[in-house]
């Protein structure tokens, strides 16, 4: 990896770190939230952007992390760290099981199968309302929202934990897509038949990619539950699967910083248009259409045309 790549990515990490002391309170909170959601988007990007697996069900992995963590904290009174790992484990397991089944299909069928799995998961949350509190969701007990003496609900620690998770995930995915494993994922995205005939077991690699992708998404969901304290069924709904797709598409699929750019852009787009009008989704929709028309490869993709080596 070139020095320029490192300086770009480490520069971004450093900038986000510094913003902790610079941003005014409101934007400080927004950026903390965006960084956690961007981790979800980066997870999605491993499957969609790098491997070409267009899933419409990633909300279930995010929600598996969120509920895995939240339910363990609520019912078993687990601490923050074990609860986070419980969420991560739930997401990895769910990704493995759904991946084994869904990856028997490809293309449009894969989209539909993942969408159906996610809907089943969502309806499952509503159905088992005794445990999950159904539509209302629940507030994560404060006892689970602290590590040692640090309260995760405080603005400072919340921001820094979001930043740490974001940074580790970004550097991790950067490493992953530069490693031989990641190169093969790109080859599968570009031409699966050819990759198979170079001797790569593409089925197993796609499963690996989906498990990594689901695991990262679940890690984000688990952190979201701990940092923001609320677990709700809406996070498992189809709109969160679509959000992940939109964030990645807007930022630039198959780029490492694209998911952050897309998430940040869309968050502020919705946020600012809400101030202007009640019909904020109309404004968001029009901007999205314009962006896809004029930047078909997303914001980072457009930059990449100028700067070819952008990962």
């Amino acid at each position: 990896m070139s020095r320029r790549d490192w300086s770009l990515h480490l520069g971004l990490v450093a900038l986000l770190f510094a913003l902790n002391w610079i941003l005014p309170a409101y934007h400080h909170g927004v950026v903390a939230r965006v960084m956690v959601l961007a981790v979800f988007a980066m997870g999605y990007n491993v499957a969609f952007g790098y491997t070409g697996l267009l899933s419409l069900g990633h909300a279930m992995y995010f929600a598996a992390g969120m509920y895995g963590t939240g339910l363990v904290a609520l019912h078993l009174e687990a601490g923050a760290i074990p609860a986070w790992f419980a969420g991560l484990g739930a997401g990895l397991l769910l990704a493995l099981v759904t991946g084994l089944l869904a990856l028997r299909t490809a293309g449009v069928s894969f989209m539909i199968v993942t969408l159906m799995f996610a809907q089943a998961f969502y309806l499952g949350i509503l159905y088992f309302g005794d445990i999950t509190h159904g539509d209302d969701g629940f507030v994560v007990p404060n006892a689970a929202r602290r590590v040692a003496e640090v309260a995760l609900s405080d603005a400072g620690p919340r921001y820094l934990i979001g930043w740490a998770l974001f940074s580790v995930t970004m550097i991790g995915t950067l490493w992953l897509v530069r490693a031989p494993f990641g190169r093969v994922l790109v080859a599968i995205r570009e031409n699966e038949d050819r990759a198979r005939l170079l001797g790569y077991d593409t089925g197993r690699r796609k499963l690996g990619a989906l498990v990594i992708s689901g695991g990262i998404s679940a890690g984000a969901g688990a952190a979201y539950a701990l940092l923001f304290g609320y677990v709700g069924a809406s996070f498992a709904g189809v709109q969160y699967s679509i959000f992940a797709l939109l964030w990645v598409l807007l930022g630039g699929a198959g780029t490492v910083i694209g998911p952050l750019v897309g998430t940040l852009f869309m968050y502020y787009l919705v946020d600012l248009s809400t101030e202007v009008t009640d019909a904020y989704m109309l404004i968001a929709g029009i901007v999205l259409i314009l962006l896809t028309l004029f930047m078909p490869r997303g914001i980072t993709g457009a930059l990449r045309q100028v700067w070819r080596d952008l990962p």
Binding site: R196, L197, L198
Partner: protein, 243 residues
């Protein structure tokens, strides 16, 4: 010479259409074998079964003495079979270097060894100076050569080339022939080819398919003189008239 590839009673039906019927075929190591036949004779069906892209309806495929009939394609490739597609199938948005590196990386883990292998394979097909080009930007002929370089970088024991000279300029065909001759020392080559000049010049041995069955086998001279082969090519002209 030891036999590297052998099929016994190999057949394939597509919904009642008999594409290949009872093909028993034997390929000795280090031979350059050409597989010819009129359009629709079942050549691509046959090699697709060899590499594992199609499952035979019946029959057995042995590679290096081992029954590979039920192995998936990627396992066969790991055993030492390589296949270049009839329709150019490179990774169009990746560089020529990365295309070949993907082929080399499956068996080499050291980046320096991969880089060396890539440089060597690209050099042998004459694309040494195009390593950084995006594969999709290369001319059609160069993409064909890139495919062959991807085959070489796998260091296969059997290289199956499906119509490799299609779309090559005459000068490129000349260097292709020299390359294949040089390769015969290190690997076995199964060549599906329409260009009869190339076939007659390169092949040690020729197998002719017609209507999904083996019509004739023999040296280029024997095939050239075979009345059944000439009859099969009637309508498209005798084989030597095709180039």
């Amino acid at each position: 010479m030891s036999v590297i590839l052998e099929t016994t009673g190999l057949g394939k039906s597509f919904d009642g259409l008999r594409a290949n019927n009872d093909i028993s075929f034997s390929l000795p190591a280090h031979q350059i074998r050409a597989l010819i036949g009129p359009n629709g004779a079942g050549k691509t069906t046959f090699v697709s079964m060899l590499i594992g892209r199609l499952t035979p309806t019946e029959g057995v495929i042995r590679f290096d003495g081992r029954d590979v009939t039920k192995l998936p394609a990627h396992e066969r490739v790991k055993l030492g079979m390589a296949y270049t597609f009839q329709i150019t199938s490179v990774f169009g948005r990746l560089s020529a270097h990365e295309n070949v590196a993907l082929a080399a990386r499956r068996r080499l883990s050291d980046p320096a060894a991969v880089a060396q292998e890539v440089a060597q394979a690209l050099g042998r097909v004459g694309l040494g100076d195009r390593a950084d080009a995006i594969a999709g930007d290369l001319s059609y002929g160069h993409q064909r050569l890139l495919e062959i370089a991807m085959g070489l970088a796998q260091k296969p024991r059997l290289l199956i080339l499906d119509e490799p000279t299609q779309g090559l300029a005459e000068s490129e065909v000349e260097s292709f022939k020299a390359l294949i001759r040089a390769l015969a020392a290190e690997t076995t080559i199964l060549l599906i080819e329409h260009n009869m000049a190339v076939v007659m010049e390169l092949a040690d041995h020729i197998t002719v398919l017609n209507f999904g069955e083996i019509l004739a086998e023999g040296s280029p001279q024997e095939i050239h003189a075979n009345p059944a082969v000439q009859a099969a090519y009637l309508g498209t002209g005798a084989p030597d008239a095709e180039d």
